[in-house]
Protein backbone atom coordinates (compact mmCIF):
# COMPACT_ATOMS: atom_id res chain seq x y z
CA UNK A 1 0.00 0.00 0.00
CA UNK A 2 2.83 2.33 0.97
CA UNK A 3 4.78 1.22 -2.11
CA UNK A 4 1.93 1.89 -4.48
CA UNK A 5 1.64 5.36 -2.92
CA UNK A 6 5.31 6.09 -3.69
CA UNK A 7 4.98 4.76 -7.24
CA UNK A 8 1.99 6.99 -7.69
CA UNK A 9 3.96 10.03 -6.52
CA UNK A 10 6.95 9.17 -8.74
CA UNK A 11 4.66 8.68 -11.71
CA UNK A 12 3.06 12.03 -11.06
CA UNK A 13 6.44 13.79 -10.91
CA UNK A 14 7.55 12.10 -14.16
CA UNK A 15 4.41 13.19 -15.98
CA UNK A 16 4.72 16.72 -14.66
CA UNK A 17 8.37 17.03 -15.68
CA UNK A 18 7.73 15.70 -19.16
CA UNK A 19 4.64 17.77 -19.70
CA UNK A 20 6.61 20.89 -18.74
CA UNK A 21 9.28 19.93 -21.27
CA UNK A 22 7.05 19.75 -24.30
CA UNK A 23 3.41 20.40 -24.89
CA UNK A 24 3.51 18.62 -28.24
CA UNK A 25 4.86 15.46 -26.67
CA UNK A 26 2.04 15.69 -24.12
CA UNK A 27 -0.47 15.94 -26.89
CA UNK A 28 0.98 12.98 -28.76
CA UNK A 29 1.16 10.90 -25.60
CA UNK A 30 -2.43 11.66 -24.65
CA UNK A 31 -3.55 10.89 -28.20
CA UNK A 32 -1.87 7.49 -28.17
CA UNK A 33 -3.44 6.62 -24.83
CA UNK A 34 -6.83 7.72 -26.04
CA UNK A 35 -6.53 5.49 -29.10
CA UNK A 36 -5.53 2.58 -26.87
CA UNK A 37 -8.68 3.15 -24.78
CA UNK A 38 -6.72 4.00 -21.66
CA UNK A 39 -8.06 7.54 -21.45
CA UNK A 40 -11.47 8.90 -22.39
CA UNK A 41 -11.53 11.30 -25.34
CA UNK A 42 -12.76 14.16 -23.14
CA UNK A 43 -9.88 13.61 -20.76
CA UNK A 44 -7.42 13.67 -23.68
CA UNK A 45 -8.68 17.08 -24.71
CA UNK A 46 -8.42 18.34 -21.19
CA UNK A 47 -4.84 17.04 -20.82
CA UNK A 48 -3.88 18.72 -24.09
CA UNK A 49 -5.67 21.95 -23.17
CA UNK A 50 -3.98 22.35 -19.84
CA UNK A 51 -0.56 21.40 -21.17
CA UNK A 52 -0.61 23.96 -23.98
CA UNK A 53 1.25 27.05 -22.84
CA UNK A 54 0.67 30.37 -24.54
CA UNK A 55 3.18 31.38 -27.16
CA UNK A 56 5.22 34.41 -26.23
CA UNK A 57 7.31 36.15 -28.87
CA UNK A 58 7.90 36.64 -32.60
CA UNK A 59 10.06 33.49 -32.64
CA UNK A 60 6.93 31.46 -32.04
CA UNK A 61 5.00 32.75 -35.04
CA UNK A 62 4.45 29.63 -37.11
CA UNK A 63 5.70 29.25 -40.69
CA UNK A 64 2.10 29.40 -41.92
CA UNK A 65 1.31 32.57 -39.95
CA UNK A 66 4.51 34.18 -41.27
CA UNK A 67 3.28 33.35 -44.79
CA UNK A 68 -0.12 35.03 -44.22
CA UNK A 69 1.61 38.10 -42.71
CA UNK A 70 4.03 38.16 -45.68
CA UNK A 71 1.20 37.86 -48.24
CA UNK A 72 -0.70 40.78 -46.74
CA UNK A 73 2.43 42.93 -46.33
CA UNK A 74 3.20 42.23 -50.02
CA UNK A 75 -0.36 43.22 -50.97
CA UNK A 76 -0.04 46.52 -49.06
CA UNK A 77 3.32 47.26 -50.77
CA UNK A 78 1.72 46.46 -54.14
CA UNK A 79 -1.12 48.86 -53.37
CA UNK A 80 1.50 51.64 -53.14
CA UNK A 81 3.75 50.69 -56.06
CA UNK A 82 2.74 49.55 -59.56
CA UNK A 83 4.38 46.39 -60.96
CA UNK A 84 6.94 46.65 -63.76
CA UNK A 85 5.61 44.02 -66.14
CA UNK A 86 8.55 42.54 -68.01
CA UNK A 87 8.36 38.74 -68.01
CA UNK A 88 11.91 38.00 -69.16
CA UNK A 89 13.46 40.45 -66.68
CA UNK A 90 11.23 39.15 -63.85
CA UNK A 91 12.29 35.59 -64.70
CA UNK A 92 15.96 36.62 -64.73
CA UNK A 93 15.65 38.25 -61.27
CA UNK A 94 13.79 35.19 -59.91
CA UNK A 95 16.40 32.78 -61.30
CA UNK A 96 19.27 34.84 -59.88
CA UNK A 97 17.43 35.04 -56.54
CA UNK A 98 16.82 31.27 -56.51
CA UNK A 99 20.51 30.58 -57.20
CA UNK A 100 21.35 32.54 -54.03
CA UNK A 101 18.51 31.02 -51.99
CA UNK A 102 19.80 27.46 -52.39
CA UNK A 103 23.11 28.70 -50.95
CA UNK A 104 21.49 30.59 -48.05
CA UNK A 105 20.72 29.54 -44.47
CA UNK A 106 16.98 29.39 -45.12
CA UNK A 107 16.32 27.91 -48.56
CA UNK A 108 12.81 26.83 -47.59
CA UNK A 109 9.94 29.07 -46.52
CA UNK A 110 6.24 28.14 -46.39
CA UNK A 111 5.56 28.88 -50.09
CA UNK A 112 9.10 29.68 -51.27
CA UNK A 113 10.74 32.95 -52.30
CA UNK A 114 9.33 35.11 -55.09
CA UNK A 115 10.67 38.34 -56.61
CA UNK A 116 8.84 41.18 -58.33
CA UNK A 117 10.05 44.42 -59.95
CA UNK A 118 8.24 47.62 -58.99
CA UNK A 119 7.67 50.30 -61.60
CA UNK A 120 9.26 53.15 -59.68
CA UNK A 121 12.34 55.32 -60.24
CA UNK A 122 12.85 55.41 -56.50
CA UNK A 123 15.85 53.29 -55.42
CA UNK A 124 14.42 50.65 -53.13
CA UNK A 125 14.32 46.97 -52.19
CA UNK A 126 11.98 45.40 -49.63
CA UNK A 127 11.51 41.92 -48.25
CA UNK A 128 8.14 40.94 -46.78
CA UNK A 129 8.16 38.00 -44.32
CA UNK A 130 8.22 34.48 -45.76
CA UNK A 131 10.08 35.56 -48.93
CA UNK A 132 8.07 38.10 -50.95
CA UNK A 133 10.90 40.31 -52.27
CA UNK A 134 10.55 43.55 -54.23
CA UNK A 135 13.11 45.67 -56.06
CA UNK A 136 12.39 48.88 -57.91
CA UNK A 137 13.27 49.66 -61.50
CA UNK A 138 15.27 52.60 -60.13
CA UNK A 139 17.49 50.22 -58.17
CA UNK A 140 17.96 47.91 -61.17
CA UNK A 141 19.15 50.88 -63.20
CA UNK A 142 21.84 51.65 -60.61
CA UNK A 143 23.31 48.11 -60.90
CA UNK A 144 26.15 47.85 -63.39
CA UNK A 145 26.54 44.08 -63.33
CA UNK A 146 25.12 40.81 -61.97
CA UNK A 147 27.44 40.97 -58.95
CA UNK A 148 25.72 44.17 -57.74
CA UNK A 149 22.18 42.84 -58.24
CA UNK A 150 23.12 39.53 -56.57
CA UNK A 151 24.40 41.46 -53.54
CA UNK A 152 21.13 43.41 -53.21
CA UNK A 153 18.97 40.28 -53.52
CA UNK A 154 21.20 38.39 -51.06
CA UNK A 155 20.81 41.29 -48.59
CA UNK A 156 17.00 40.98 -48.82
CA UNK A 157 17.17 37.17 -48.50
CA UNK A 158 19.23 37.80 -45.35
CA UNK A 159 16.37 39.89 -43.92
CA UNK A 160 13.93 37.01 -44.59
CA UNK A 161 16.27 34.42 -43.04
CA UNK A 162 16.81 36.51 -39.91
CA UNK A 163 13.06 37.37 -39.72
CA UNK A 164 13.80 41.09 -39.37
CA UNK A 165 10.30 41.96 -40.63
CA UNK A 166 8.67 39.88 -37.90
CA UNK A 167 10.97 41.43 -35.31
CA UNK A 168 9.41 44.83 -36.05
CA UNK A 169 6.02 43.65 -34.75
CA UNK A 170 5.21 45.16 -31.35
CA UNK A 171 5.24 42.46 -28.70
CA UNK A 172 1.86 43.53 -27.28
CA UNK A 173 0.16 42.56 -30.58
CA UNK A 174 1.60 39.06 -30.38
CA UNK A 175 0.61 38.70 -26.75
CA UNK A 176 -2.98 39.68 -27.70
CA UNK A 177 -2.99 37.28 -30.65
CA UNK A 178 -1.62 34.35 -28.72
CA UNK A 179 -4.08 34.95 -25.89
CA UNK A 180 -6.96 34.90 -28.34
CA UNK A 181 -5.70 31.83 -30.16
CA UNK A 182 -4.96 30.06 -26.89
CA UNK A 183 -8.65 30.10 -26.00
CA UNK A 184 -9.72 28.59 -29.31
CA UNK A 185 -9.82 24.84 -29.80
CA UNK A 186 -10.10 24.91 -33.58
CA UNK A 187 -8.75 26.97 -36.46
CA UNK A 188 -12.16 28.35 -37.43
CA UNK A 189 -13.23 31.51 -35.60
CA UNK A 190 -16.59 32.89 -34.61
CA UNK A 191 -17.53 36.44 -35.77
CA UNK A 192 -16.35 38.13 -32.57
CA UNK A 193 -12.96 36.39 -32.39
CA UNK A 194 -12.48 36.87 -36.13
CA UNK A 195 -13.12 40.62 -35.89
CA UNK A 196 -10.69 40.86 -32.97
CA UNK A 197 -8.03 38.79 -34.73
CA UNK A 198 -8.40 40.78 -37.98
CA UNK A 199 -7.96 44.00 -36.01
CA UNK A 200 -4.70 42.71 -34.52
CA UNK A 201 -3.65 41.42 -37.96
CA UNK A 202 -4.08 44.94 -39.38
CA UNK A 203 -1.93 46.36 -36.58
CA UNK A 204 0.73 43.71 -37.20
CA UNK A 205 0.80 44.65 -40.91
CA UNK A 206 1.04 48.32 -39.91
CA UNK A 207 4.17 47.58 -37.84
CA UNK A 208 5.88 45.63 -40.64
CA UNK A 209 4.91 47.97 -43.53
CA UNK A 210 5.90 51.02 -41.50
CA UNK A 211 9.34 49.49 -40.92
CA UNK A 212 9.80 48.36 -44.53
CA UNK A 213 8.53 51.51 -46.26
CA UNK A 214 8.83 54.37 -43.80
CA UNK A 215 11.12 53.94 -40.81
CA UNK A 216 13.57 51.27 -41.92
CA UNK A 217 14.94 48.39 -39.86
CA UNK A 218 17.07 48.83 -36.80
CA UNK A 219 20.64 49.68 -37.95
CA UNK A 220 22.01 46.42 -36.52
CA UNK A 221 19.65 44.43 -38.77
CA UNK A 222 20.95 46.24 -41.88
CA UNK A 223 24.51 45.42 -40.90
CA UNK A 224 23.52 41.81 -40.28
CA UNK A 225 21.84 41.57 -43.70
CA UNK A 226 25.01 43.05 -45.30
CA UNK A 227 27.16 40.43 -43.60
CA UNK A 228 24.79 37.67 -44.74
CA UNK A 229 24.80 39.10 -48.28
CA UNK A 230 28.60 38.85 -48.43
CA UNK A 231 28.51 35.22 -47.33
CA UNK A 232 25.54 34.12 -49.49
CA UNK A 233 27.01 35.69 -52.64
CA UNK A 234 30.42 34.10 -52.04
CA UNK A 235 28.79 30.70 -51.45
CA UNK A 236 26.88 31.08 -54.73
CA UNK A 237 30.10 31.95 -56.57
CA UNK A 238 29.83 35.74 -56.86
CA UNK A 239 32.53 38.22 -56.09
CA UNK A 240 31.36 39.94 -52.86
CA UNK A 241 32.65 43.26 -54.19
CA UNK A 242 29.18 43.63 -55.73
CA UNK A 243 27.86 44.91 -52.39
CA UNK A 244 30.74 47.39 -52.01
CA UNK A 245 30.08 48.61 -55.57
CA UNK A 246 26.38 49.07 -54.86
CA UNK A 247 27.00 50.89 -51.56
CA UNK A 248 29.58 53.04 -53.38
CA UNK A 249 26.90 54.13 -55.87
CA UNK A 250 24.50 54.84 -52.99
CA UNK A 251 27.14 56.84 -51.09
CA UNK A 252 27.81 58.92 -54.20
CA UNK A 253 24.10 59.63 -54.66
CA UNK A 254 23.40 60.44 -51.01
CA UNK A 255 22.71 64.08 -50.39
CA UNK A 256 21.59 64.58 -53.98
CA UNK A 257 18.03 64.69 -55.31
CA UNK A 258 17.21 61.14 -54.16
CA UNK A 259 15.82 61.28 -50.63
CA UNK A 260 13.03 58.68 -50.54
CA UNK A 261 13.10 54.86 -50.64
CA UNK A 262 16.48 53.40 -49.79
CA UNK A 263 17.88 56.71 -48.49
CA UNK A 264 14.99 57.15 -46.07
CA UNK A 265 15.02 53.62 -44.69
CA UNK A 266 18.71 52.65 -44.66
CA UNK A 267 21.70 53.79 -42.58
CA UNK A 268 24.49 55.73 -44.28
CA UNK A 269 25.96 53.81 -47.22
CA UNK A 270 29.42 55.16 -46.31
CA UNK A 271 29.31 53.55 -42.85
CA UNK A 272 27.98 50.29 -44.26
CA UNK A 273 30.70 50.26 -46.89
CA UNK A 274 33.40 50.24 -44.20
CA UNK A 275 31.79 47.33 -42.38
CA UNK A 276 31.26 45.35 -45.63
CA UNK A 277 34.87 45.80 -46.70
CA UNK A 278 36.01 44.53 -43.31
CA UNK A 279 33.77 41.47 -43.73
CA UNK A 280 35.15 40.78 -47.22
CA UNK A 281 38.71 40.89 -45.85
CA UNK A 282 37.81 37.97 -43.55
CA UNK A 283 37.07 35.73 -46.57
CA UNK A 284 40.00 33.75 -47.89
CA UNK A 285 38.56 32.17 -51.04
CA UNK A 286 37.01 34.98 -53.08
CA UNK A 287 35.44 34.02 -56.45
CA UNK A 288 36.57 36.00 -59.50
CA UNK A 289 34.19 38.11 -61.61
CA UNK A 290 33.29 36.74 -65.02
CA UNK A 291 32.31 38.51 -68.24
CA UNK A 292 29.60 35.88 -68.95
CA UNK A 293 27.58 37.22 -66.00
CA UNK A 294 28.00 40.88 -66.84
CA UNK A 295 26.97 40.19 -70.44
CA UNK A 296 23.78 38.36 -69.51
CA UNK A 297 22.94 41.06 -66.95
CA UNK A 298 23.27 43.73 -69.64
CA UNK A 299 21.08 41.70 -72.00
CA UNK A 300 18.43 41.25 -69.27
CA UNK A 301 18.19 44.95 -68.35
CA UNK A 302 18.48 46.23 -71.92
CA UNK A 303 15.55 48.42 -72.82
CA UNK A 304 14.54 49.11 -69.22
CA UNK A 305 12.99 52.60 -69.06
Amino acid sequence: MRNSGSILKISFVCILVFSMMSCSIMEQGAGVLSEAGLVKKDDTQSIVKTSKALRKGFGEITEEEEYYIGRAVAAVILSRYPVYENNSLTKYVNTLGSAIIVHSDRPETYAGYHFLILDSDEINAMAAPSGFIFITKGLLKRCRDEEMLAAVLAHEIGHVYAKHGLKSIKKSRLVDTFKLIGQEAVGRYGPQELAQLTGIFEEVLGDVVDTLVERGYDRKYEYEADRLSVHYTVKTGYNPGGLSDFLGVMAAEAGGDSTGGWFKTHPSAKDRLKSVEKEILSITDIPARHAARTNRFKRAVKGIK
Binding site: I15, E27, Q28, V39, T62, E64, Y68, A75
Partner: protein, 162 residues
Protein backbone atom coordinates in the same frame (compact mmCIF):
# COMPACT_ATOMS: atom_id res chain seq x y z
CA UNK B 1 -7.37 0.53 -4.59
CA UNK B 2 -8.55 -0.61 -8.01
CA UNK B 3 -8.75 3.00 -9.15
CA UNK B 4 -5.27 3.65 -7.84
CA UNK B 5 -3.85 0.65 -9.74
CA UNK B 6 -5.46 1.87 -12.92
CA UNK B 7 -3.84 5.23 -12.37
CA UNK B 8 -0.40 3.64 -11.90
CA UNK B 9 -0.82 1.75 -15.18
CA UNK B 10 -1.91 4.95 -16.88
CA UNK B 11 1.01 6.96 -15.50
CA UNK B 12 3.48 4.22 -16.45
CA UNK B 13 2.07 3.99 -19.98
CA UNK B 14 2.29 7.77 -20.41
CA UNK B 15 5.88 7.73 -19.21
CA UNK B 16 6.77 4.96 -21.73
CA UNK B 17 5.14 6.89 -24.55
CA UNK B 18 7.15 10.00 -23.63
CA UNK B 19 10.42 8.07 -23.56
CA UNK B 20 9.66 6.40 -26.90
CA UNK B 21 8.87 9.72 -28.50
CA UNK B 22 11.97 11.25 -26.97
CA UNK B 23 14.18 8.63 -28.57
CA UNK B 24 12.44 8.77 -31.93
CA UNK B 25 13.50 12.37 -32.84
CA UNK B 26 10.50 13.16 -34.95
CA UNK B 27 10.24 16.17 -37.22
CA UNK B 28 7.21 17.68 -38.92
CA UNK B 29 7.22 19.39 -42.33
CA UNK B 30 6.43 23.08 -41.72
CA UNK B 31 6.48 24.34 -45.33
CA UNK B 32 3.76 23.72 -47.93
CA UNK B 33 5.87 21.01 -49.58
CA UNK B 34 9.50 19.93 -49.77
CA UNK B 35 11.54 17.44 -51.76
CA UNK B 36 13.04 14.39 -50.12
CA UNK B 37 16.44 14.14 -51.85
CA UNK B 38 18.53 11.09 -52.64
CA UNK B 39 21.72 12.85 -51.53
CA UNK B 40 22.38 15.75 -49.12
CA UNK B 41 22.33 18.49 -51.79
CA UNK B 42 19.72 20.59 -53.60
CA UNK B 43 20.51 19.35 -57.04
CA UNK B 44 20.19 15.68 -56.10
CA UNK B 45 17.39 13.45 -57.43
CA UNK B 46 14.00 13.73 -55.68
CA UNK B 47 12.84 10.58 -53.87
CA UNK B 48 9.41 11.92 -52.87
CA UNK B 49 7.53 15.15 -52.27
CA UNK B 50 6.59 15.69 -48.62
CA UNK B 51 3.63 17.85 -47.61
CA UNK B 52 2.96 20.24 -44.74
CA UNK B 53 2.26 18.27 -41.55
CA UNK B 54 3.98 15.06 -42.73
CA UNK B 55 6.15 13.51 -40.08
CA UNK B 56 9.65 12.15 -40.60
CA UNK B 57 12.09 10.44 -38.29
CA UNK B 58 15.71 11.57 -38.17
CA UNK B 59 18.21 8.80 -38.81
CA UNK B 60 21.32 10.85 -39.53
CA UNK B 61 22.79 14.26 -40.37
CA UNK B 62 25.46 15.78 -42.57
CA UNK B 63 26.60 19.39 -43.00
CA UNK B 64 23.36 21.27 -43.22
CA UNK B 65 21.13 18.29 -44.11
CA UNK B 66 19.03 15.76 -42.22
CA UNK B 67 18.77 12.11 -43.20
CA UNK B 68 15.20 10.99 -42.50
CA UNK B 69 12.77 8.10 -42.82
CA UNK B 70 9.22 8.92 -43.87
CA UNK B 71 6.05 7.27 -42.56
CA UNK B 72 6.07 5.20 -45.79
CA UNK B 73 9.59 3.99 -44.97
CA UNK B 74 11.26 6.04 -47.68
CA UNK B 75 14.75 7.23 -46.82
CA UNK B 76 16.31 10.47 -48.05
CA UNK B 77 17.62 13.93 -47.16
CA UNK B 78 15.81 17.16 -46.34
CA UNK B 79 16.95 20.67 -45.50
CA UNK B 80 16.43 21.63 -41.82
CA UNK B 81 14.67 24.88 -42.84
CA UNK B 82 11.73 22.76 -44.06
CA UNK B 83 11.06 21.09 -40.72
CA UNK B 84 10.26 21.80 -37.12
CA UNK B 85 11.46 19.50 -34.42
CA UNK B 86 9.01 17.94 -32.03
CA UNK B 87 11.71 16.28 -30.00
CA UNK B 88 12.58 17.25 -26.42
CA UNK B 89 16.11 18.54 -26.20
CA UNK B 90 17.23 17.72 -22.68
CA UNK B 91 20.59 19.40 -23.19
CA UNK B 92 18.90 22.63 -24.24
CA UNK B 93 16.73 22.88 -21.15
CA UNK B 94 18.83 25.74 -19.74
CA UNK B 95 19.09 27.56 -23.04
CA UNK B 96 16.84 30.39 -24.22
CA UNK B 97 13.31 29.59 -25.41
CA UNK B 98 14.39 30.27 -29.01
CA UNK B 99 16.47 27.08 -29.17
CA UNK B 100 13.79 24.94 -27.57
CA UNK B 101 10.75 23.23 -28.92
CA UNK B 102 8.17 25.87 -28.14
CA UNK B 103 5.23 26.49 -30.43
CA UNK B 104 3.58 23.27 -31.42
CA UNK B 105 3.32 23.36 -35.20
CA UNK B 106 0.76 20.55 -35.28
CA UNK B 107 -1.59 21.96 -32.67
CA UNK B 108 -1.26 25.42 -34.20
CA UNK B 109 -1.63 24.36 -37.83
CA UNK B 110 -4.31 26.49 -39.45
CA UNK B 111 -4.73 28.59 -36.32
CA UNK B 112 -3.83 32.23 -35.72
CA UNK B 113 -3.34 34.30 -38.85
CA UNK B 114 -4.84 32.01 -41.46
CA UNK B 115 -6.89 32.06 -44.65
CA UNK B 116 -10.04 32.98 -42.73
CA UNK B 117 -8.30 36.03 -41.22
CA UNK B 118 -6.98 37.01 -44.67
CA UNK B 119 -10.51 36.82 -46.12
CA UNK B 120 -11.79 38.97 -43.28
CA UNK B 121 -8.92 41.46 -43.88
CA UNK B 122 -9.77 41.57 -47.61
CA UNK B 123 -13.43 42.31 -46.82
CA UNK B 124 -12.41 45.21 -44.57
CA UNK B 125 -9.72 46.57 -46.94
CA UNK B 126 -11.18 46.32 -50.42
CA UNK B 127 -8.59 48.76 -51.84
CA UNK B 128 -5.82 46.24 -51.15
CA UNK B 129 -5.62 43.70 -53.94
CA UNK B 130 -3.98 40.29 -53.64
CA UNK B 131 -4.04 39.64 -57.41
CA UNK B 132 -0.34 40.37 -57.90
CA UNK B 133 0.58 38.47 -54.74
CA UNK B 134 -1.08 35.37 -56.20
CA UNK B 135 0.60 35.97 -59.58
CA UNK B 136 3.92 36.38 -57.80
CA UNK B 137 3.46 32.97 -56.15
CA UNK B 138 3.06 31.40 -59.58
CA UNK B 139 6.58 32.44 -60.64
CA UNK B 140 8.53 29.19 -60.37
CA UNK B 141 12.18 28.45 -61.06
CA UNK B 142 13.03 24.79 -61.53
CA UNK B 143 16.15 23.09 -60.21
CA UNK B 144 17.32 22.59 -63.80
CA UNK B 145 16.91 26.30 -64.53
CA UNK B 146 19.02 27.17 -61.45
CA UNK B 147 21.69 24.66 -62.52
CA UNK B 148 21.80 26.07 -66.07
CA UNK B 149 22.01 29.61 -64.63
CA UNK B 150 24.98 28.67 -62.41
CA UNK B 151 26.69 26.89 -65.30
CA UNK B 152 26.27 29.69 -67.85
CA UNK B 153 27.30 32.31 -65.30
CA UNK B 154 30.45 30.32 -64.38
CA UNK B 155 29.27 30.29 -60.77
CA UNK B 156 30.31 27.98 -57.93
CA UNK B 157 31.77 24.72 -59.16
CA UNK B 158 31.37 25.96 -62.76
CA UNK B 159 33.59 28.98 -62.03
CA UNK B 160 37.29 29.13 -62.65
CA UNK B 161 39.74 31.39 -60.88
CA UNK B 162 39.29 32.46 -57.28
Amino acid sequence: MKRRNRFIVLAGALFCVFVMLLLAETYVIKVQSTHLKKEPKFFAQTVAVLKNGDRVEKIGAETGWLKVRTMNNLIGWIHPSAVRTIKINLLAMNQPVKSQTSADEIALAGKGFNKQVEESFKARNKEISFVWVDRMLKIKVSTNEILAFLKKGKLGEYGGAK
